[in-house]
């Protein structure tokens, strides 16, 4: 066996496994060796991450990094084909490891059981040739973008909602980035998530395979990647079109480069959607007074665990917004519920949901834990 800068030559087994690639002039043995040398980071092992992980592993990408912190839920299986019924309750990374080892045992899978955040994004991404964004919220998408721009690592973008999807390639050397397309995320609470708004199960399959295609093209240096173009996919009309994405000289990430460190955008997930009805509220001072007179209230904190680590209200129960639908049946109907988050938007959505489920004694804490800190207890840190 000969060894080159691309590592050892393909084994007989690899040559047979990748034979349909090897006979493509655009891939061939040199291309296949490039894929084997490549390191790709997949952020998210969900709807988009499923076809991405499966196809990139099958194609022979040598090292796949996979970032996720979630467990497989029964409601994932309608679209997350990386996971099976027997995996429900397991971590998505563990499930992915078993499946990918079967698809292609030559692939090295590096798993990162964490939430990509401002304080770890650069470390996670550094050292990879490409990032593929399969996350499900705006905050992480902006972090992935900004980190990719800072590190000069291309970002293969895909995003979905209901029946529509988008794909592009951002943060290449001279190309635009996600902030050139959408300078800022929508404010929290404006728009529903896939969990609320729904998503056609096959749609992440369509968009994820487009991302996988772009990733392979970039690694191979083949064809014309979606740099400076946004692909719009509409599954209902089955129309695909591309529009132009210009590199914005005023972009704070890739234009003026004023973003020099990562900071999480204050936002919930999601896309423009529904005008929302008001919810019954109580202010922090009212809540403090009611707690002082020992009213029977259950405090429900719908923030994420990393926020809970920063601060919380005494006696509260942590039920992150995304898990409210599952947790609702375990909540008492004979007690008054007071729901809070950081600023009051996410908790308003939880209150709306709970009221639709027949909880009629449920209130939103106006201004969230931030206003509690401002008006009642400054010892509670703001963030």
């Amino acid at each position: 066996m000969t060894t080159t800068a691309s590592g050892p030559a393909l084994t007989h087994e690899e040559a047979l496994r990748y034979s349909r690639h090897l006979i493509l002039p655009e891939v061939g043995v040199p291309g296949q060796l490039k894929l084997r040398q490549a390191k790709v980071l997949l952020v998210g092992a969900g709807g988009l991450g499923s076809p991405l992980a499966l196809y990139l592993a099958a194609a022979g990408v040598g090292t796949l990094g996979l970032v996720d912190f979630d467990l497989v839920d029964l409601s994932n299986l309608q679209r997350q084909i990386l996971h099976g019924t027997g995996d429900v309750g397991r971590s998505k990374l563990e499930s992915a490891r078993r499946r990918i080892a079967d698809v292609n045992p030559h692939v090295r899978l590096d798993t990162y059981e964490t939430r990509l955040a401002a304080d770890n994004a650069l470390d996670l991404i550094r050292g990879h040739d490409l990032v593929v964004d399969g996350t499900d919220n705006f905050a992480t998408r902006y972090l992935v973008n900004d980190a990719c721009v800072l590190l000069g690592v291309p970002n293969v973008y895909g995003s979905i909602f209901r029946f529509e999807g988008q794909a592009s390639v951002f943060a290449t050397k001279d190309g635009p980035c996600y902030r050139c397309l959408f300078p800022k995320p929508p404010p929290a609470g404006l728009v529903p998530s896939c969990a609320e708004g729904g998503v056609l199960g096959v749609l992440p399959g369509l968009v994820g395979t487009i991302q996988a295609t772009e990733a392979l093209k970039l690694l191979l240096g083949a064809g014309e990647p979606l740099i400076g173009r946004l692909l719009l996919v509409d599954a209902l009309t089955m129309q695909f079109r591309t529009v132009r994405v210009r590199k914005d000289p005023a972009c704070p990430a890739c234009g003026t480069r004023e973003i020099t460190e990562l900071r999480e955008e204050a936002t919930a997930c999601e896309a423009p959607g529904q005008a929302e009805e008001p919810v019954p509220e109580l202010g922090p001072r009212q809540l403090a007074a009611r707690l002082a007179r020992r009213d029977d209230l259950l405090l429900v904190d719908v923030r994420e665990p990393h926020e809970w680590e920063i601060c919380r209200l005494p006696g509260a129960e942590l039920i992150p917004l995304g898990t409210i639908p599952d947790a609702a049946q375990g909540l008492p109907r004979d007690r008054e519920l007071v729901v809070y988050c950081k600023g009051g938007a996410r908790s308003a959505r939880a209150v709306r949901f709970l009221r639709r489920q027949g909880f009629d004694r449920v209130l939103n804490l106006t201004g969230g834990i931030t206003r509690w800190s401002e008006e009642v207890d400054p010892a509670v840190p703001r963030y």
Binding site: T135, F138, I160, F161, V243, R246
Partner: protein, 91 residues
């Protein structure tokens, strides 16, 4: 002057279920103003309270981001297609 406005599925219910609307006008502001008058719930999804572009809704005139064409003052011509592309984050 007939211009076609294409809406994503998520916004079409604010336009009586229509995915495409025909409109008239000399500028993008005219077109957006016209459809906003016809569908009052749609207007606030296309422009903010000051009548400016949202940073999370990109509007294309044909295949070009209108931010690079003068925003809502971009001139439109007969046969132009305006496409509304909201940021989505699902994955």
């Amino acid at each position: 002057m007939s211009v076609t406005l294409q809406l994503p599925n998520v916004l079409s219910r604010l336009a009586g279920g229509a995915r495409t609307l025909s409109s008239e006008g000399g500028t993008l502001a005219d077109v957006v103003g016209d459809v906003s008058r016809r569908f009052p719930e749609l207007g606030p999804r296309l422009r903010d309270e000051k009548g400016e572009l949202y940073p999370f809704v990109t509007i294309y005139l044909n295949d070009e981001d209108v931010r690079f064409l003068g925003g809502f003052s971009a001139p439109v011509r007969d046969g132009d297609v305006v496409t509304v592309v909201p940021a989505v984050a699902g994955g």
